[in-house]
Amino acid sequence: MTPSVKRAIQDIRQNRFLNAVTIITIALSILIVSAFALFFINTNDLMNAWKRGIRIMAYLKPETPQAEIPELKKKIQNMYGVSEARFISKEDALNGLKTHMKRQSSLLDNLRENPLPDTFEILMIASSQSWERVEMLAADIEKLSQVAEVEYGQRWLERFTNIFNLFRLAGYALGALFFMAAIFFVANTIRLVLYSRREEVEIMRLVGAADSFIKMPFYIEGLIQGALGGIIGLAALFVIFLFVSSNVPQDFSTGFFHIRFLPLPVFVAVIFSSMFVGWLGCYLSLKQYLKS
């Protein structure tokens, strides 16, 4: 063990209260920011699951020959953003309408001929979706010679997307705010801690210690505090996560989307960021005290 590390550990022991305060502050900040990240990741999953519900219906012209269908299908499937194109013949469509209308299906029994067109139901790739992309794709499909008309989404789906964008905007604003606040709280706590130890720093300088000698243990402490704070914060988040996710309505998490914890890379990134923040807090504060 190098002398600096030894001094850092000694120092942590000698200033238990101050170290505990710093570690808890970092842990809480990490908890907040990563709770936000967790919320966001899951909301995004949810949004994608929802968007998988967006489908474009392309009604074909009545005169389209059956033979062109497979080629047309291929054409649509090769378009950018399309994940699947399912052909629904006009007979299937009528049957579907009958089941769907249930109570009013009697009025369909009296038809002389099937008035419905052949249809392609087109699903989109979740990741590449936005309301604009859906519209662009729909316009492209409409340009195909066999397609009579295109219908996509319902009014509510558009509305929902708009609402979600509002959520997302507010979410980014809040997230950025929390993130900066967390950095401030940590830097600030470290600054107050060093403020209450400024005499010690001053004495070391007076007896001939170089700035690097003085700083080193503080930096190491900052890294240790950052690592501990990050681990504690994520552990706390996991406990809260378990609690919340066990309270989510069953049909929800077993349904079309699963609540999940932070993925491993994010997890590791959080710990490293936490260590970086611990170090940075020391760096900025020490710079101030060692200036003159």
């Binding site: 002398p3 001094r7 000694q10 000698q14 200033n15 130890r197 005499e199 010690e200 004495i203 070391m204 300088r205 007076l206 007896v207 001939g208 210690a209 170089a210 700035d211 000698f213």
Partner: protein, 229 residues
């Protein structure tokens, strides 16, 4: 009686001033301190003794004038070299300046650690110097649990442990009874004998008379050089 054997100046002050706002703490001080000298700076409370020492180790800048230490012009030393200047000095601060959260051992060891000494050597030296000032029993005590005199002795131990070229001692026996004070003065004399330059700021005339050496007198910031006693 203590003799100054080597007459080349190790510290030179030329027309040094130090003002705090309108207050003139030091006025036109010109003084040579010789190599291996044993010098007393005497003077009443508020005369400027502590201020004079502070200027030497660059705790504060001069308001005007020049100071040379070991041939170095203090106003020309770059910031990053100040620690090396300070390591030439062993300093007993008037208010001790012990780190309250570190043990006696750690406080004294700090000087050697900062100079990059090996742990083994540090251990040996710290124990030995604490024995000399009679504090070997209190290695692991924190300064707030020491009596005033005990703290002062630790401060003295810290000042001399680096085997400094120059010892600056500000009232080094102010909190000590006669026996402990004699012990400390003997210690300082020993370092003097080994070649160190010793500068003691004190208001204690009895101490000066008893020890001997050159005395310069400060009064309201002005120097009154008296002949050697």
């Amino acid at each position: 009686m203590i003799d100054s054997e080597d007459k080349s100046a190790i510290i030179r002050l030329f027309h040094v001033y130090r003002n705090y706002g309108v207050k003139h703490a030091l006025i036109d001080i010109t003084l040579d301190i010789f190599n291996n000298e044993f010098l007393f700076i005497s003077g009443p409370s508020g005369a400027g003794k502590t201020t004079l020492l502070k200027l030497l180790y660059l705790a504060e800048p001069v308001s005007d004038g020049q100071i040379l230490v070991d041939g170095l012009n203090l106003s020309r030393i770059p910031r990053k070299n100040i620690p090396f200047l300070r390591r030439k000095f062993g300093i007993v601060f008037q208010d001790y300046k012990l780190i309250l959260t570190k043990t006696v051992y750690e406080n004294v060891a700090l000087v050697l650690e900062a100079a990059g000494e090996k742990r083994r050597l540090i251990h040996k030296k710290v124990k030995s110097v604490l024995r000399t000032v009679g504090m070997e029993q209190r290695l692991n005590s924190l300064p707030p649990s020491l009596s005033g005199g005990e703290q002062q002795r630790v401060a003295i131990a810290r000042a001399v442990i680096g085997d400094p070229n120059i010892i600056l001692a500000d009232e080094p026996t102010g909190s000590l009874d006669v026996d402990a004070a004699d012990l400390v003065m003997d210690l300082l004399k020993k370092f003097h004998t080994r070649g160190a330059t010793v500068v003691i700021a004190t208001h204690d005339k009895a101490l000066i008379h008893k020890t001997g050496g050159r005395v310069v007198h400060l009064n309201e910031g002005r120097l009154q050089v008296t002949p050697e006693i």
